[in-house]
Point group: C2
Chain length 140, copies 2
DNA sequence: AAAGTCGCAACCGTAAGTGTTGCGAATAAT
DNA sequence: ATTATTCGCAACACTTACGGTTGCGACTTT
């Protein structure tokens, strides 16, 4: 797969799961998403920590949504994955002078604001809206 | 520096240049941005291709804004750098079935829309607004 | 008891990006 | 003209992030 495709994978998978409430194994999901079961578990694991999906072990186990797809927004997913597409991950500051430092702070603030705008925008769409209308029949 | 810091570097640099209209060398900029002259030239080179800055060779050469800082938006910079922070770079499609394909298309459309929203948001801020009020005096 | 499934850790390979060096081209200053 | 300065560009090394893969243990249903 391509780079930083976790969000796309999560969206795709949850929309798929929203089509009906059958339990899906990570192997099944991986095949339909064109990736690996472990990758699926890695991504869905984060969503499970955030309470968006539920996993059950053992035969006839797998994954299902923790609540109705209309109650899961894209922001929920984005935040659950710990994504930060816009904002810079601050690490070390080398403020050569106070003016540089102030400027750096202003740039950082702007990017943080942009990140926040993105999240607010994400919060306005739910999985149910992605999933659309049709019910999926592909089980084999 | 950190990863994908090109946008932050460009913002920082252009805001710095907006403080006055002196020509800055890439070495000077790099020192103040905590990076390397070649990295600065790489980033500013893209902005030059987009007509946002002008570079002059030779002694007393360097970089300056191509137009007033109030006429350069963050979207100009973002697009000049060829950034795509949200949208997925499509490469290959493996539509196992038509339903999968439709779903994939819908996810792609959503991420494209989010990318577009980000750009629209970026277009609402100019370098002049980042730069603020004070005039910078640091030359040594 | 057996089989299926997740959970997790470890590792590899690839890709992207920054940092660095070197050299050529252009241009201003002398 | 010569020289010094600066960009332009290509090539390379180094690091980091991430997807992909394997292996094994834990759990639970049948």
């Amino acid at each position: 797969m391509k780079r930083n495709s976790r969000l796309a994978l999560a969206l795709h998978t949850l929309a798929h799961m929203a089509a009906n409430d059958r339990v899906r194994t990570s192997t099944y999901i991986a095949e339909h998403a064109g990736t690996n079961p472990v990758v699926v578990r890695r991504v869905l694991g984060k969503l499970r920590e955030a309470g968006l999906v539920i996993s059950v072990k053992g035969p006839s186990g797998g994954w299902r949504l923790a609540r109705d797809s209309s109650q899961i927004t894209l922001a929920d997913i984005y935040l659950a994955l710990g994504e930060s597409l816009v904002a810079a991950e601050v690490a070390d500051d080398t403020p050569s002078c106070s003016i540089e430092n102030a400027l750096h702070q202003r740039v950082t603030n702007i990017m943080d604001t942009l990140e926040q705008n993105l999240i607010e925008r994400l919060a306005k769409t739910t999985i149910a809206e992605i999933q659309g209308v049709e019910k999926d029949e592909s089980s084999a």
